[in-house]
Symmetry: C2
């Protein structure tokens, strides 16, 4: 999704692709094949670029540090990215900055977990510090027994209180190396089985004070002096009573910002390119009163393309984005976006999915 | 500009590119190099595609006929495309259909031109039937002497009366093989030295009856039974008194429709892909009250990129499209688009050009 704005802005994109037929390689002419864990592959890519950036957080921190030591421009830099890579480092830093967090600790054994649960109560949310996404690497446990498999690994886990949130919000901000910052309206994200299925922009009936303080916190973290500035989404949970806690920061274009492709004057993808290249940032105003984005998840019907014309015919105003991925049940294989004035209507239209035979 | 919607819709684009570093080859991974006049190159491309289409009209008609005879899907087909390739064929057909045209004839010599001028008056507009664009292949002559060079070639020329138009309009419509049709709002195009420099969508203060009849004529031509349906822009000139004549039809995405990328729910490029693949057409409604597109013309300042950040900084809401072309004075090397409620403001902002050192 970085390719279309790169075309418009005439920016020469190169992408390190895990296979010749990976999604990105199908749409970017210069897509050398290599693993993101292979420092030599990263180095060869960097040597051909003015700036290196990411579409996920899983590039090893030490590889990023090596590239930086060799003089390559890595944005966001390793010192910032580690906060999106390691959830314990992230919690330590957010807490030190005074950003609202759920109560948390690190645990290594049953005694540690029991002590934490005695303080915050069951259930407790366990997270692996690295590697999780879309509900993976997260386990909600109601007692010690439920945690036994994870604790048996003997690794450090992040333990967080289970926050009784009323809904989940996402704040998307961009900040460029020269310090310019921009924020989009705060959106509501709807999760189903731990996977984001729907985003409503802006978040309906959101208290203005809460929106302002969540945005302020996101901009503050993004612009923290002494660290690399960075661009990214920031998920947070709205609590009863109008407060919030920060859930998980990301430092790249994020699923919660896909609505901006059509819904905002500047999409998060164009903005990411502008930000990492230190170009002036674009206008983040919405183009419509409401925009609803729904993820297309792989369903029980592996042949996406026989239902695809029906989806286009069903709603000529739906903007369809398909990622060229193999259909697997539950996998994010695309998204649809629709904008307008009637939120209930838009949500119903965005919810029409092309992947299930039962829909047609 | 077809590449971004092809990415979104997960359509595999291949482009026959005149050079490995041509604009299209920089953004489409599968871009074999070849000339559009080389039938073997066209055949190899077609063999790798479900449908073949065009971004200009200069592919020889006989090559298209050969591809069709070999069973390849060519859209629009040669029988339709010839009307955009040959201006005499186009005038004959439009006249037969009863579509308003300026008075016209074909001339071969001074006697023929003199007889036509005696009927319609000087000046007369001479056009080469094939190969013209952006004012090339068009000559406005005020007397026989001015036409002597062109007449000396001994080739058939199209002669048209010089219509005293008040402004130029463009009607963009799409029609798919199964017969679905869609039209965008009629726009005004502003020409400078024969080159389109600005497009205002919708055309300001346009008489509703004129808009309806111009759109109806465009849809009728696009959907004429017995011919291939096709997609394309249609330029026409508005005459005093609320009538119009059709100027030049095109059968591909057109400069007068670039505003649709941000200004309409479905861009002309996405629609072209949908139309030639016989997918359901998309919604053509505007996303804003006004959208203004201005072409970026090569100026006296060959280094576009040193002024580019200034342009982005100057107006964060301006959508900038650069085509990756070498800067030459007067060449269309990109365009900018801006949408909003205040037309005068939008026109002033769109007119800011990044190519002249004097602007900064």
């Amino acid at each position: 999704m970085l390719a279309p704005p790169a075309v418009a802005l005439d920016l020469g994109l190169r992408v390190l692709s895990e296979a010749p037929d990976a999604s990105a390689a199908l749409v970017v002419p210069q897509a050398p094949v290599g693993e993101h864990t292979d420092l030599d592959a990263l180095r060869r890519l960097a040597a051909d670029c003015d700036v290196v950036t990411f579409d996920h957080e899983h590039v090893p921190t030490e590889h990023l540090q090596a590239l930086e030591a060799e003089g390559f421009a890595v944005r966001p830099g390793s010192a910032a990215l580690v906060h999106a890579q390691d959830k314990v480092v992230m919690r330590e830093r957010l807490t030190a900055m005074g950003v609202p967090c759920p109560r948390w600790t690190t645990v290594r054994d049953a005694a540690g977990l029991e002590a934490f649960a005695a303080e915050v109560g069951w259930p407790v949310v366990l997270k692996t510090p690295r590697g999780g996404y879309d509900g993976k690497g997260v386990l909600v446990v109601r007692d010690l027994d439920a945690a036994s498999d994870w604790l048996a690994r003997g690794e450090v886990l992040l333990a967080e209180e289970a926050v009784p949130f009323t809904r989940e919000l996402a704040v998307l901000v961009a900040r460029s190396p020269m310090g310019q910052a921009a924020a989009w309206p705060v959106v509501e994200t709807v999760q189903t089985d731990g996977i984001c299925t729907e985003v409503i922009a802006p978040a309906p009936d959101l208290d203005e004070g809460l929106a302002a303080s969540a945005t302020e916190a996101a901009l503050r973290v993004a612009g923290e002096p002494g660290r690399h500035r960075r661009h990214g989404g920031r998920a947070c949970s709205s609590l009863p009573g109008g407060s919030f806690v920060v859930n998980e920061p990301a430092m790249r274009p994020h699923n919660s910002g896909h609505w901006t492709i059509e819904g905002s004057v500047t999409s998060q993808f164009e903005q990411h390119l502008r930000a990492v290249l230190d170009l002036p940032l674009g206008d983040t105003r919405p183009r419509a009163r409401w925009t609803v984005m729904a993820n297309v998840l792989g369903g029980d019907y592996p042949d996406l393309y026989s239902t695809y014309p029906h989806l286009l015919a069903h709603d000529p105003a739906l903007k369809v984005h398909l990622y060229g991925k193999t259909v697997r049940p539950g996998r994010k294989i695309g998204h649809v976006t629709v904008s307008g004035d009637d939120l209930d209507d838009l949500r119903a239209r965005a919810a029409t999915q092309p992947t299930s035979s039962r829909e047609w």
